[in-house]
Symmetry: none
């Protein structure tokens, strides 16, 4: 029975920071705007985050927490376990739908992090070590399971992972930035199509 405690000051600041960073970018965001958004005095921010950059670290740490612990490891293993008898397509669909939901929920985190890893070496390293590698490891296990089942070709796992992530990522990006009109009404249908392409290719068989 989780009691909803009113957010701590630190949390409020971090939430505000994510919001502003994702809207303006890290550099263009100002601590004063973050303070206003968090409804604290500007000085208060610096009690918790003595340098502006530590807000970015704070965000990444929170992202590591969310993506790492709560999302990637546990649920993925669970999903596979719970769907042992299902086909690879079906498992993939469950996973992708789940990931997509998370992606959209934490879209602001992703935007900020993907942008800023270009400019901050420390942030990049942390991201690679604590998030990216974890994701890859986990997906790799999934691919290996599939390979063991003898269901997929013997292609370098990295390529496979990258491919499916790329396809899904592009779908998400498009949905966020360029809501071009497709005849495909809902996201589940889109995911089905992607999985179909991914699993069976686009070539017509005779």
């Amino acid at each position: 029975m989780k009691k909803k405690i009113s957010k701590s000051t630190e949390e409020r600041i971090l939430d505000a920071a994510i919001k502003i960073f994702s809207k303006k970018g890290y550099s263009a965001a100002t601590t004063s705007e973050i303070a206003r958004e968090a409804k604290v005095a500007e000085g208060t921010i610096f009690r918790y985050f003595p340098k502006k950059k530590e807000l970015l670290h704070g965000i990444l740490l929170k992202a590591i927490d969310i993506f790492g612990k709560e999302i990637i490891i546990k649920p993925l293993e669970e999903i596979i376990e719970e769907n042992k008898d299902k086909s690879l397509e079906e498992i993939l669909k469950v996973i992708i739908i789940n990931r997509v939901k998370i992606f959209e929920e934490y879209f602001d985190y992703i935007k900020v992090i993907l942008c800023e890893i270009q400019f901050h070496d420390d942030i990049r390293q942390l991201f690679i070590d604590k998030i990216l590698k974890k994701i890859i490891e986990t997906v790799e296990r999934l691919v290996d399971i599939a390979k063991d089942r003898g269901e997929i070709k013997d292609i370098e796992s990295m390529i496979i992972i990258r491919s499916v992530i790329g396809m899904v990522f592009m779908m998400l990006i498009q949905r966020q930035f360029v809501p071009l009109e497709t005849s495909i009404s809902n996201i589940e249908e889109e995911i089905d199509l992607i999985i179909d392409i991914f699993m069976n290719g686009i070539k017509k068989k005779d």
Copy 2:
């Protein structure tokens, strides 16, 4: 025998701006650093680009020029024409290799633009109208040709395009940011694999 004329001041400034923007991000970049890089006085920048933001516009305009005129339209049609008799896989490979080269050559432009379209509505609109739509239109024609030839399944073109772009894009991103060790030595081999997945899927056929 093209003689390399010494670059105009405006070009030098724009080149410097791209370099600095891609290294630090638009907001964190300073006009004084750009001036230093371009070897001009800071004031000179403002003769050509009265506001810092116009440097960003200048970059986008140049990107539109490069991607639009020189790369997308003409060459793609040529490639298809020249490879009429080849298989779809072969044509795709030629195209992707060509695109990848361009992508890597103008990687700084892409980084800057993709980051900043999030924060500047005008930049985003220009990008969508002048680059993205053009790319999609062109690739769509390619897909339609393939569909006409009866070589690929009847899937929504947008999904197909997005998928292949996503796969290639992820490959490029990885090569740029996370040079993880793969057993795949060169890019051509990687492209072959991507095309194979894209065309034939990853499912093993019995």
Copy 3:
């Protein structure tokens, strides 16, 4: 027993601004010099006056306050009341001496405002509405009283007002800018002469 509280930061900045503006003019004055004069950091100025121009507004607002509330309305009525039985000349003298004192005390305000109303429409409008019209209204009442008493000719009030103000104004200007040697030692004597000219003209009666 009014205790002289140490001036607020805002007051110190405004006082410094008036001083520098009156010495150099608004445009030639720099915020850094004003900051130095006010003994605050340059950034502090912008906490109170986000744009340099708002310093000018601040000055005008203060002038409106001083000239409007404290000086023009109340004291003038009082003076007239208190000197009911005196001759017009005597009343005029009391008023002019009082005005002259104020004028000299706030000479910097006047210099700045009179110069800058030429260049800033908003400042001009405020000045006309809040100061000039008030002055004219008040003096007009005085003239009307004199006319009612039957002591002065029936000349358009505006002309009368303008004339006496012009005479006094010129005297003040001269005293400030061109301290030409006059045999008239003190200002009271000068005022007497002006009043004499104003009341009786310069023509010798036979």
Copy 4:
């Protein structure tokens, strides 16, 4: 037989400078705007006036020329000569009307000079020596003539001069800046009233 030669470059620059200075003030005016107004290149200005401030000097010199030679000395003497037999009022009226015309024609010069003498010692000194003293000397002669004729009271000439100048000046200022509605339709009528006040005072005689 004055031939109207097309204005020299120097003249065009000076005319442009007066125009811009009077609109924006000396400091806020830019050499580039002056160049545009004068239809010359920015560099050209500096062939004739190596420092911006020399434009101000140039303007003052031109004003000295206009006010000094052409206007004050010669015509005033002429007017007095030609109107020997007329009354002082009539002579005064002729003079004032003439002065007013000049004042309005060269209003931009006056505005610029009166503003800037506050901030530039050299300009002020020149103005006092070459214009103000000349005006005073001349008017003084006029007053002395009147005194000799026994027509006016024996008041310090300076006071007399200042008074009439102040009255006229205020009238002009008002006409320029605050065109308040007067029942007096035309300027001649106003001048008549001013002269009347000045000569006969405002007191009703019994």
